[in-house]
């Protein structure tokens, strides 16, 4: 039983490491931005010609804000 549990844990840990990596904030941020974009598309709230700029700006803002948030953390911390 513990062998199966270990295999299942290892399987999910592997895919977590592969997809999410060592910075879950970025992965979560991408999911939130794209989920919000889907809602905008479904509601047809933004013209399709403007949507690329809105999504691109939101994603760039995500990266910039995540790097500035690092300033609040311990200096030289080699983590996310």
């Amino acid at each position: 039983m513990s062998l199966i549990l270990g295999l299942v844990q290892g399987f999910f840990r592997f895919w977590y490491d592969f997809i999410v990596g060592d910075c879950w904030e970025i992965a979560a941020g991408v999911v939130v931005v794209l989920a919000a974009s889907i809602l905008l598309v479904r509601a047809q709230a933004v013209p399709h010609t403007s949507l690329p700029y809105v999504v691109a700006a939101a994603i760039m803002l995500l990266v910039v804000s995540s790097t500035f948030l690092e300033l609040r953390k311990k200096p030289a911390a080699d983590q996310c």
Partner: protein
């Protein structure tokens, strides 16, 4: 013969794959030298076989059963998750908020961990060396496979040999890294990995934004891919925007880090890495 698009595709996949190959090589080298080459090579071969099986199953399933716009959205989202993490790290390294990626240091850490690990034999192999080599090659190899499939699939519309070109770029990078590593018999720390990671981060993030926006059309009432103003030329605009945004962020962060440095005793401006994020 190679077209301009084919050469660009090969170059893009080559650079991205070389970064992953350097990381995998560092892990296998550390295991080979400390735990024995038999386990390290068996782990590497097992990972390559697993990669082949995963590529055959997932690749053909994606191509045959998933609509183009949904595929664009999924690929774009994954490229964004990978690319943004690389860009973010490059920005932090360039601004002094994170130490520069050092293959020599990683190699030493891997060696120390391998030396401390107990000796457990399974199937006649040193299990620690096998598992670490297997996992390292599988993780880095999956990223290479992913890059080859995504870039190859997308470029197929304009280049019928795109998958072949993308595969050639990846294989060339891996072969070159292995040969260079075998000749040097040490981690490839001379490779400007941080600069390459910044370049690959820019590339993946650019394609990630482009494809995820196109793929959003899957969720529209029409269910068709959205189109960027300027079509394929929008890629150039997105790339330039990323360069401006990342360089601007590095400059602002460096200023803030310099102000904080005396008070916190963190990285001094003179210690700032010069290579990451195209820093000087």
């Amino acid at each position: 013969m190679f077209t301009a698009a084919g050469i660009t595709l090969i170059a893009a996949v080559f650079v991205a794959s070389a970064v992953e190959a350097v990381e995998a090589f560092t892990i296998v080298l550390a295991m080979g030298l400390t735990r024995g080459w038999k386990a390290a090579i068996c782990g590497t071969v097992a990972a390559i076989l697993a990669l082949t099986a995963i590529t055959a199953v997932v690749g053909s399933a994606l191509i045959h059963y998933v609509s183009q716009s949904l595929l664009q959205f999924m690929i774009g989202a994954l490229l964004l998750i990978f690319g943004l993490q690389w860009l973010r790290k490059s920005i932090l390294r360039s601004s002094g908020l994170k130490s520069v990626h050092d293959e020599d240091a990683i190699f030493r850490e891997e060696q120390e961990a391998a030396a401390k690990a107990g000796k457990e034999l399974r199937l006649g192999l040193d299990w620690f060396g096998f598992v670490v080599s297997f996992k390292g090659v599988l993780l880095e190899g999956l990223e290479v496979v992913f890059i080859v499939i995504t870039f190859g699939l997308k470029a197929r519309a304009t280049d019928p040999l795109a998958m072949l070109h993308a595969s050639a770029g990846a294989v060339a990078a891996i072969v070159l890294v292995v040969i260079a590593g075998a000749v040097a018999r040490r981690p490839l720390s001379a490779v400007p990995e941080n600069t390459m990671k910044y370049a690959v981060g820019l590339l993946l993030s650019t394609f990630g934004v482009y494809w995820s926006v196109e793929g959003l059309g899957f969720f529209s009432p029409q269910g068709q891919s959205l189109e960027w103003p300027g079509d394929i030329w929008a890629l150039v605009g997105v790339l330039v925007a990323w360069i401006v945004v990342t360089r601007g962020t590095v400059i602002m962060l460096r200023t803030l880090v310099r102000r904080r440095a005396p008070a916190l005793g963190s990285a001094q401006p003179s210690e700032l890495p010069s290579e990451a994020a195209g820093g000087h």
